[in-house]
């Protein structure tokens, strides 16, 4: 456990001393702040649903910037050799990187709680979709981070890791459009893989165990693949 805490602290430190984390957080907050303010003044509706959809889309674009360096950079500089030749399990290394990356993203998402506080002071919002939206964002971030880590563990190039992650996230996000072209029941299977289709119920306040399970399975699958990628040597 102490080894795991040491690894997690090191990963969090590496992320928070990097300008990438601050750039990602700043862009995320500026764009969402702008959308929140404009939408609130124009529609005068006490809802965050549009923020959740925009934030989810931004996660698809920004998470690769957080995960791309995690293993690719360690592999390129040779520091991965230090970690893997220490008496540490691959699983511990992967989970430490997952926890540290999630700390950055959850901090970023948590900063948008200020929008909910503003709504609460000027109105009486429906809290169900707000809770669901934040839970959905956290689950989506977890799934994207886990998959991003697995891709980063397969390459020495941060750019390759980022581009491949972006491609896979984009495909999984918008795969529901392709599902519309397919015959039944294949369309439902493909639709079930869509991040957008799985996220939407959370953002509108109607959560399903199957969607929760989908994100949980993606997280576990991503972490498992990252461990396998490290162990394959």
């Amino acid at each position: 456990m102490k080894t795991f805490l040491a690894l997690t602290a090191k990963e969090a430190h590496a992320l928070f001393v990097s300008p990438v984390a601050y750039a990602v957080i700043a862009v995320f907050l500026v764009l969402n702040g702008y959308t929140f303010a404009v939408t609130l003044f124009l529609t005068r509706q006490a809802t965050l649903s549009h923020i959740f959809f925009q934030a989810a889309m931004q996660l698809v674009l920004l998470v690769p910037l957080v995960t791309m360096r995690q293993f690719a950079e360690e592999r390129r500089t040779g520091t991965l050799e230090l970690l893997l030749t220490a008496p540490v399990h691959e699983g511990g290394i992967v989970i430490a990187k997952f926890v540290a990356s999630m700390a950055v993203l959850l901090t970023m998402i948590a900063l948008t709680l200020v929008y909910a506080l503003i709504l609460a002071t000027v109105s009486n919002p429906d809290w169900g979709p707000v809770y669901g939206g934040y839970l959905g964002l956290a689950l989506l971030a977890g799934a994207l981070v886990a998959i991003g880590l697995a891709i980063s563990a397969l390459t020495t190039s941060q750019v390759v890791a980022a581009v491949v992650s972006l491609g896979i996230f984009g495909l999984l996000w918008a795969i529901d459009a392709w599902a519309a072209l397919l015959p039944s029941p294949v369309d439902n299977w493909v639709l079930g893989l869509s991040l957008l289709a799985r996220f939407t119920p959370f953002a509108v306040g109607s959560m399903y165990a199957s969607d929760f399970g989908f994100f949980l399975i993606l997280i576990l699958l991503g972490l498992f693949l990252a461990v396998r990628a490290l162990a394959r040597r």
């Binding site: 102490k2 080894t3 040491a6 090191k10 500089t77 040779g78 050799e81 030749t85 008496p87 040597r233």
Partner: protein
């Protein structure tokens, strides 16, 4: 002496290419063993298998009696590893990095504190403790890398090309440091520089194309002294007489004559105390020159012979 490392029939295959082919080797406690070979001969692959970074395709590696595959977690705790080019976290300060590596190896705070003090003093890292690693010179980076490998007091220190990129002064300092470390640890070190090996190692394993060609024990000054003697052909009987009387226990090899009619002998004395007597006798016999030869030449000759044979095959 107890074997800290035992490698038996080790092979590593990358696809169709056999990078390491049936290597067997032992490293004893407080012994420096060098792996010598040209680039691509399998040195780094052997070290990476030994340290648990790579899995072997065949064979067994035991460190302090622990199998590196089935008991990898425990075995890795017995090893201190300095990878090639000393990879470190450039954004960390030296003290911060060393503390992290200590915690990674499960050292508790009081023990970690004592060990940090000890390695900082031993490797003269005190002045750079709060310096960001990315700003350190190559020599200091190498020392930090060695310090992290010593923190947990391993049974075995493994260093991959430790003199790469160092300036001459840093190379000399590192060489001295390794000899000191060998008083406490078994040391396995790789190099493709022959002269470095003969200065650092007690035994040298010569590798080529993944195969172990020979293991050569290095003779050190104080154990044996070698000379090359050159003399005109007419002085040959006098030289032979001087060699037989003043250096009765020496081994003498007559070398081919050069084009100027000069003869030469290579003499290795196992009792260096008799060297002065021999030199006096040779001077009286009309020797033209006496040139001391380091033990290096043995290794050099062996390396050239083995690699030439391999090239023919």
């Amino acid at each position: 002496m107890a074997a800290v490392v035992s490698i038996e029939g080790l092979s590593k295959r990358y696809g169709r290419r056999l990078a390491v082919d049936g290597v067997s080797l032992e490293v004893n406690d407080r012994e420096v063993v060098g792996l010598l070979g040209p680039n691509g001969s399998g040195k780094t692959t052997i070290l990476r298998i030994l340290t648990g970074y790579l899995r072997p395709s065949a064979g067994a590696v035991r460190v302090d009696g622990l199998d590196i595959v089935t008991e990898g977690h425990l075995a890795r705790g017995r090893i201190g590893y300095v990878p090639e080019n000393a990879p470190l976290y450039a954004h960390m300060r030296v003290n911060e990095f060393l503390a992290f590596m200590g915690r990674l190896r499960g050292l508790e705070p009081p023990v970690l504190h004592r060990r940090l003090e000890s390695v900082r003093e031993r490797l003269s890292l005190g002045p750079v403790g709060e310096v960001v690693i990315g700003k350190l010179s190559r020599g200091y980076r190498q020392r930090v890398s060695i310090a992290q490998a010593m923190l947990h007091q391993p049974k075995l220190l493994v260093l991959d090309e430790p003199t790469n990129g160092l300036d001459p002064r840093q190379v000399i300092e590192l060489r001295g440091l390794l000899r000191i470390l060998a008083q406490d640890y078994a040391v396995l070190v790789t190099s493709h520089i022959l002269a470095e090996m003969e200065r650092i190692a007690d035994r040298v394993a010569i590798l080529l194309n993944g195969r172990l060609l020979a293991v050569h024990r290095i003779s050190r000054p104080g154990h044996a002294v070698s000379f090359r003697i050159r003399a005109p052909a007419d002085a040959a009987p006098g030289i032979a007489a001087a060699l037989s009387t003043a250096a009765a226990t020496a081994s003498t090899i007559r070398e081919p004559a050069d084009g100027n009619g000069m003869l030469s002998w290579r003499v290795t004395m196992t009792e260096p105390d008799g060297a002065e007597r021999l030199v006096a006798a040779l001077c009286a016999a009309g020797v033209a020159s006496i040139e001391p030869i380091g033990a290096a030449s043995d290794l050099e000759a062996l390396f050239l012979r083995l690699t030439a044979e391999e090239a023919v095959h």
